[in-house]
Amino acid sequence: MTKPHPPSESPSEEAPNVPGFRTWRGIYVFVLFWFIGCVALLAWLSHAFK
């Protein structure tokens, strides 16, 4: 039987290989700020179009 993927990768060391981001932490921080931006925009929308 074919075995599942061997655990060859080292999660903490693997680089995201995404332009502009050297670490996964950078990507997570970006997503966090993106989310805050979305909520802020929605709050503005709620306020501006009362």
Binding site: T2, P7, P16, I27, A48, F49
Partner: protein, 571 residues
């Protein structure tokens, strides 16, 4: 629908299904069948995750929900990006490192066989029920408005998805979901553009003034269903359990060439999910404005049901309500125009008076819609009075050009198939790996037999879902029904996983007992809320309560077990 619509609909649906079946017809390898092609890239994984989560209910019911009560449902997704970050950091690396096929295999490795079986059983129970809803929801609406037979619509949708999911497994699911998402994207954007072109210039201000654009509510009220707090906390736990512990999602991202692909696929969802949902709820809010200026806006959007009763012998009262509503609706239109003129004029006093008159008129129209529902219910107690699910489909059928109608109906079917395929694939996999192989340990190394059984289980779940869909009926708004079922069964499962990841000293017996107690606690709170509505809490709160309960009971039971073992050892 004319022949162009049929051509687009059948061509798109059958074409994608046939393509998926043909491309994956030689899948014999268990790993490919259960996890998908090893070369699957992050975009395919991301789209697959998105397609599995967003069923027809998202595209059909959510605009209706926003039409009815505004865009506040968007807050339900506030916890999602945060949950996906946690899945990327904690859950995904562990699943990849252990090379498991299912999330519940991990529970078996971390705790014991009974905890693994409990996790698998909780998943099969709630996902099996939801699979029925996923197939029933679009079928009931489409068959009603298009005049198709409900049973044939369910059978066609169900069998089509069963064919390619059984044939190609996860590889076919990933492949077809990518194309189906393409159809959905094109169709929804086209509908949105046409709607915007039909709107008056002050559409967003009108929607806002009539309370449809309240996207964030910071009120700390447990009884309100959608607030910032319930979204961020309840939504976080709901998303964490869905993406981290539900096999239909886990299966989408544990495949791929490397950990990077799964992580980027999830981050793709973390970035695009809220904007996508915003786009859909805005569609609903703008549909609301559109129908304020339509002369023949129905008092009840399920016109098939309405006409059936209004034209019957006892339909006089319904016809009277319809006439009254038409008059109030016309008056409201004038009040809205007057408010827009006053607003543009810049006179605050005039604007305020016009706004009050407009809101009063809107409330009068709403009261008539409510009266229409109660009268309809009095005439026929079996009728479903929540008509918001019919708003968007009514727009599609009456306002879009031919060809696009077919494409939008294809969107509804594509989303049903993509979501259903992910579910069936996961149900078949969990049944094979966590149940069948558990009771047939000698068959573990027979690859051909494993693939054959995975196919059989997938087909069986497909038949179960079709059968369930043929015999059910729902009163709640459909998207809420799905989330409520999830909020009842997910929390204790998430609690088990949290204990597994973060509380290394807790063993299988403690967490097993804790999961059962936490599940009972959630059921108790839910049913108490139904029996005593005054004390009902928003269903999203069941998620943190159930999860925290499971963790708390685990720690308590482990402590008690430790004390008992110490006492035994001492004696």
């Amino acid at each position: 629908m004319n022949w162009i619509d049929w051509l687009v609909l059948v061509g798109t649906m059958v074409g994608i299904a046939a393509y998926g079946t043909w491309r994956t017809r030689h899948t014999r390898n268990l790993n490919t069948y259960l996890k998908g092609n090893v070369n699957t890239g992050w975009l395919t994984i991301g789209l697959s995750v998105m397609a599995t989560q967003a069923s027809t209910i998202t595209y059909l019911s959510l605009p209706g929900q926003a039409f009815e009560s505004g865009i506040d449902f968007i807050q339900n997704y506030f916890g999602l990006p945060l949950a996906l970050i946690v899945v990327c950091i904690v859950f995904l690396p562990i699943y990849r490192k252990l090379g498991v096929y299912t999330a519940y295999e991990y529970l078996g490795k971390r705790f014991d066989a009974k905890t693994r079986l409990l996790g698998a059983a909780l998943f099969l129970l709630q996902r099996g029920l939801q699979a029925g809803i996923t197939i029933y929801a679009p079928a009931i609406i489409l068959s009603t408005v298009l005049g198709w037979r409900l049973d044939l619509t369910i059978l066609f949708t169900g069998l089509l998805v069963v064919v390619y999911t059984v044939t190609g497994g996860s590889a076919a699911v990933n492949l077809t979901q990518k194309w189906q998402m393409g159809v959905i994207f094109v169709g929804m954007v086209a509908a949105f553009v046409i709607l915007v072109l039909k709107l008056p210039p002050d559409a967003t201000h009108i929607a806002g003034a009539l309370g449809k654009l309240q996207g964030v509510d910071f009120t700390p009220d447990l009884k309100r269903r959608y607030t910032f707090w319930s979204g961020i906390l309840g939504g976080f736990f709901l998303s964490l359990s869905y993406f981290g512990t539900d096999q239909s999602q886990v299966q989408r991202y544990i495949g791929g060439a490397a950990l990077r692909e799964g992580r980027l696929g999830l981050m793709f969802n973390a970035v695009f999910k809220i904007p996508m949902q915003f786009f859909i709820v805005m569609l609903g809010a703008l549909l609301f404005v559109f129908y304020q200026f339509q002369p023949n806006t129905p008092v009840f959007f399920n016109q098939t049901e309405w006409q059936r009763h209004a034209q019957g012998s006892q339909g006089a009262e319904l016809r009277m309500i319809e006439a009254k509503f038409a008059a109030v609706h016309a008056e409201k239109q004038e009040k809205i125009r007057a408010w827009v003129a006053a607003r543009d004029g810049g006179d605050a006093t005039l604007e305020s008076a016009a706004r009050t008159a407009m809101i009063e008129s809107h409330q009068a129209a709403n009261a008539l819609r409510q009266q229409a529902r109660s009268t309809l219910l009095a005439l026929d107690p079996t009728v479903k009075t929540k008509d918001s699910d019919y708003v968007f489909i009514t727009f599609i059928l009456t306002q879009l050009p031919h060809g696009l109608v077919g494409l939008l109906i294809a969107v509804m079917f594509a989303s049903a198939l993509s979501s259903k395929a992910g579910e069936l694939n996961a149900l078949g996999t969990t049944s094979t790996i966590d149940l069948w192989r558990h009771f047939r340990p000698l068959a573990v190394h027979d690859e051909a037999r494993n693939v054959r059984n995975a196919k059989w289980f997938t087909a069986l779940w497909g038949v179960f879902a079709i059968g369930f869909a043929l015999f059910i009926g729902f009163a709640e708004n459909l998207i809420e029904a799905l989330n409520i079922v999830a909020s009842i069964f997910y929390p204790s499962l998430l609690g088990v996983f949290c204990v597994a990841f973060f509380f290394k000293r807790v063993g299988g017996s403690a967490v097993f007992g804790a999961a059962i107690v936490a599940q009972l606690l959630v059921l108790l709170i839910f049913f108490c809320g139904k029996i005593f509505p005054a004390h009902e809490i928003g269903y999203l709160w069941l998620n943190p309560i159930g999860c925290a309960g499971c963790i708390g009971f685990s720690l308590l039971f482990q402590w008690l077990l430790g004390r008992r073992n110490a006492a035994i050892a001492k004696s």
